[in-house]
Assembly symmetry: C2
Homo-oligomer: 476 residues x 2
C-alpha cells in the first residue's frame, strides 16, 4: 500500500514542481497551442529549464528548439505533449526512453471522439503502465503552480494572482473559465490549477489527495463529470473536508446533461442522487454555477469559519433590510435580537422615536451624524454582541457620498473587529470597484447581490457546522 | 365610478406631465436634498417651468427663488415638497390655495416614525381630501418621466437611458437602487419611475392602472411592502399582465422581514402565501433580488414572447453544455433533438467522428473553420429548426480571439434570424463589456452566468405561456 500511495500521490509532485519541462509540439506560429505554451512559461518567468521540441524549428521564442526529446542533453522532469493525436503514443514511448516520469498530454481526439481515439488512448495507458509513467490527460488544458510560476497551458493567460485556492477540473475550457472567473474577484488567488481531461491515468481522487496535503492550498474546487472510484473518492474527500473546504461542481444530473458529457470527455456521469447524498456526508459544498463558486470562495477566504448562524444586518435602506431578513430566514439563518449593551451603545446616535432592532436601519442616524461615523460606530458596537455570529453591512452605493461610508471607513472598522463581516452593495455606481479593490484586497468580501450574499453565508454556515460537529465529536 | 376613476387615474397624469413644477424647500446648499432637486431638473433639461420656493434665498442655481407658493405669478401643475415635517401640512394648504392639484411630499418623519409623525400624516390626508388634491408620499424619493426629462428627486442622477421600463417602488432607496441597477444593462431604458413612500393617498394599484395604459411603458416593475386593497390589485394587475409583463418584488414574508417593514414605511406586509398564489393567477412574475429583476427585464426586452420551451444550446465547451442542459431541464425547459435538416446543414463543417446533437459542441468545427464562421452558420441553421423555440449561444470569452466569435458576428447572425436568441458568456475578460455594448445595445441580451440565463428563460416561458393561454382561451 505504501508503494501504491507513493506511486499515486507522491508521484504527482513533479507535475507541479519540475526542474525542467519539455514542450513537445512547441511552435513559432501564434495561432498554435504549442506557441502559447512557451509564451506562457516565458511571460510568467518560470524558474526551471524549458526545452521546446519541434524538428522543423531551430529556435522558438528565443529558446533553442530540439528535434526530439532524445536530443535534449540533460534530464527532463516533465513533458507537455501537444502534437497530432496519431503520433502521441510514439512520443510517450520516446519520453519513457528518456526517463521522463510525468507527462501531460494536451492533444485531443482520443476517447471523447470515438473508437479510433479510444484505441490511441489505450496505447498511451499501456506504455504508461509498462514504463511506470504518470499521465495527465489526454485532452487537457494543462496545469498551473503559481508558487514557481509554472503556467503550463495552451490557453492564453495574462495575469495570475497567487493565493490559496486550488482548481481541479475535468474540462479544459471550464478549468480556464473557472480560473478567470475566480481571479476577477480581488480577494481570490490561485495556488494550483489542473485540467484532467479524459483521465486516462491520473484521476481527480489522486489529485484531491495530493492537494489535500498541499500547504499552499486552503480551499479546493473540484469540477468532475463522473468519478471512476466512488468509494475511494468518499474516503479521501472526507479526509480533505476535515482540513479544508472542498467545493464540488458536477453535471450530468439529467439524461440530456449526461449525454452531453459522454460526447465530450467520454465519461459516464453516474447517478446524481447517490452523489448528492455522498457529498453532504463528507462535508463537501456543491455549486451549480461559476457565480456561486466565486461567491462561496470569497466568503470562505474572507470570513473563515463562523461559530453560529445568527446574522446582524446593518442597512441604510429599510426595504433591503426586510429583503435580507426574508432571504436569511429562508436560507436557514437567524436574525437575533440585539443584546441590551449593543443597543445602549448605539441609541444616543439615533433619533428618540427610532426603535433599534435587527436589521438596524441606520438611515436616520446617518442623516444626523454622517454615514462614515454611524457605520463605524454601529459595526464596532455589534462586534461584541454575544447574540451575533456574522454581520452583513449593506451599503447603498448609488447614493451621494455623504450617504454612504467610504471603503476606507468600512475597512478600518471591519478589520479591527473579530466578528466575521461581509459587505453587500445595493445599486450600482462607478464606486463599486473601489469598494471591491480596497475591501477584497484586504480579504473582506464584497457582494453586489443580496441573494448571493445570503446564499454564500448559508453555505459558509453549512461548512462551519460540519467542522464544529467534528470538533464536538472529538471532544465527547 | 367614472368620476372615481377620473379622480384616481387620470388625476395622475399631471404628476408625470406637468407644465410647471414648484420645488418647496429648494436650496443652494449642495448637501441638502432641495439643492439636488433643482440641479436634477436643470441637468436633464426639463422642458417645463421650474419655480424654486425658499423665503431665505433670492436665486437658486440661477433661477429666481420665490418666498412662498402664493407668490409665484403663474399657475403651477405640480409641487415637490422637501421641508421639515412640522411645516408640511401648512405647505399643503398653501398649495391648495394656489390651486395645485398634484403634490409630491418627499419629506420624511411621518407614519414610519411613530405617533407624532402619524398625526402629521393624517393632517396631510385631511387637507388633500377636502381640497381634492392627489398626494404621492410622504417619505418618497420622487419620480421620473424620461420622455419630458422630468427628473424630480433629491437623489443624485447622472444618467438616464430612455426606454420602455417603468418602476413603481414603495421604498425610496430601493427605487433608486433598482433604477441604477437596471440602467447598468445597456439593453434597458426607463420610461417612468416613481417612489410611493408611505402611500398616504396615491397607491401602487392606481399607479399600476395608470402605467398599464401608458404607451411609453412595455414592462412594469412593482416593489411593494404591502397592499392596501388586495382585491382591486388582483383585478388591475391581471388586466395589466394581459397587455405587458408585470414584475413584482415583495418582502415581509417572514415575521422578521415583516417587522423590519413596519418600522420602515409603517406598512403591514400581509400573508405571503396568499400573495404568492394571487401573483401566479394574474400572470405576474416574482423576483427576489435586483439581479433577478435585471436579468428578467433583459430577456423580456430582448426576446419578447416565446412560443414554446424547447431550447437549443450552442457551446464551445462540452462541460458548459452539460451544465446548461441540466439547469434547463431542472427549470422546466426542454432540450429537443435537432431536426434532420438542421444537422444536414451543419455536418459538412464537422469532423466525421462528431455526432451532432443538442447541445451542439462546436469546438471541433470551430478549430477547423474558425469560430466566427461556425457560430454564424450554426446559429442560422438552427434558426429554421421547427423543434427549437429559443437559442442559447455560449461563448468562452476568456479564450483567444480565434476561439470565440466577435460580437459583430453574433449581432449579424442573431439580428437576421427570427428565433429568440440569447448570448451567455463563460469566464471573464476585458472583452465582456464589448459584447454587452454591441449586443445589448441592439436588444440581444447577454448573460454572464449560465444559471441566471436559464432562470431568465424559464421566467420568460412562464409569462409567454400565460399570454399564449389567454389567446387560446379567446379563440375557443
Amino acid at each position: 500500500m505504501a508503494d501504491m500511495k507513493g506511486r499515486h500521490v507522491l508521484g504527482l509532485d513533479k507535475f507541479f514542481k519540475p526542474e525542467s519541462v519539455a514542450v513537445i509540439g512547441a511552435s513559432n506560429n501564434p495561432l498554435k497551442g504549442g506557441y502559447m505554451v512557451i509564451r506562457n512559461l516565458l511571460k510568467f518567468d518560470y524558474k526551471g529549464k524549458i526545452y521546446p521540441v519541434n524538428p522543423r524549428e531551430r529556435e522558438i521564442l528565443g529558446l533553442k528548439s530540439y528535434p526530439s526529446v532524445k536530443s535534449i542533453p540533460e534530464s527532463v522532469d516533465l513533458a507537455f505533449v501537444i502534437v497530432p493525436r496519431e503520433i502521441v503514443p510514439g512520443v510517450i514511448q520516446e519520453c519513457a526512453d528518456k526517463g521522463i516520469k510525468c507527462i501531460i498530454v494536451s492533444s485531443a481526439g482520443f476517447k471523447e471522439s470515438g473508437e479510433e481515439g479510444s484505441q490511441l488512448e489505450n496505447k498511451i495507458v499501456e506504455i504508461a503502465k509498462k514504463e511506470n509513467i504518470r499521465v495527465i490527460g489526454p485532452n487537457t488544458i494543462g496545469l498551473i503552480n503559481s508558487s514557481n510560476n509554472l503556467i503550463l497551458s495552451f490557453a492564453p493567460f495574462e495575469f495570475i494572482r497567487k493565493g490559496p485556492v486550488a482548481i481541479i477540473a475535468q474540462s479544459g475550457v471550464f478549468c480556464g473559465a473557472a480560473l478567470h472567473w475566480l481571479l476577477s474577484s480581488k480577494i481570490i488567488g490561485i495556488s494550483k490549477s489542473v485540467g484532467l481531461g479524459n483521465k486516462c491515468d491520473v484521476t481527480e481522487v489522486e489529485m484531491l489527495e495530493y492537494l489535500g496535503d498541499d500547504e499552499e492550498t486552503e480551499i479546493i474546487f473540484l469540477h468532475t463529470e463522473g468519478l471512476k472510484d466512488g468509494r475511494k473518492f468518499l474516503r479521501i474527500a472526507r479526509e480533505v473536508s476535515k482540513k479544508k473546504p472542498l467545493i464540488v461542481m458536477k453535471f450530468g444530473r439529467t439524461s440530456i446533461g449526461a449525454k452531453a458529457i459522454v460526447s465530450h470527455t467520454g465519461t459516464i456521469a453516474g447517478k446524481d442522487t447517490i452523489f448528492a447524498t455522498v457529498l453532504k456526508q463528507i462535508g463537501a459544498l456543491r455549486v451549480d454555477d461559476l457565480d456561486e463558486l466565486r461567491d462561496l470562495v470569497k466568503i470562505l477566504l474572507g470570513s473563515r469559519l463562523i461559530s453560529g448562524n445568527r446574522v446582524a444586518i446593518i442597512t441604510y435602506s429599510g426595504a433591503t433590510g426586510a429583503q435580507t431578513s426574508d432571504l436569511c430566514i429562508e436560507a436557514g439563518l437567524l436574525i437575533p435580537e440585539l443584546d441590551e449593551a449593543t443597543i445602549l451603545k448605539i441609541e444616543d446616535k439615533c433619533p428618540p422615536w427610532m426603535k433599534i432592532s435587527n436589521p438596524i436601519d441606520i438611515w436616520p442616524a446617518a442623516m444626523q451624524h454622517g454615514a462614515d461615523k454611524i457605520y463605524d460606530e454601529v459595526i464596532r458596537a455589534i462586534s461584541s454582541d454575544p447574540n451575533v455570529d456574522v454581520i452583513i453591512v449593506l451599503v447603498c452605493v448609488s447614493y451621494a457620498d455623504h450617504q454612504k461610508p467610504s471603503p476606507q471607513t468600512l475597512l478600518n472598522a471591519i478589520s479591527q473587529i473579530e466578528k466575521p463581516s461581509v459587505v453587500c452593495t445595493i445599486g450600482t455606481s462607478a464606486d463599486i470597484e473601489k469598494y471591491q479593490e480596497i475591501l477584497e484586497g484586504n480579504r473582506i468580501p464584497v457582494f453586489t447581490s443580496v441573494k448571493s450574499c445570503v446564499e454564500a453565508i448559508s453555505r459558509l454556515w453549512q461548512y462551519s457546522k460540519f467542522r464544529l460537529e467534528l470538533t464536538t465529536t472529538q471532544f465527547f
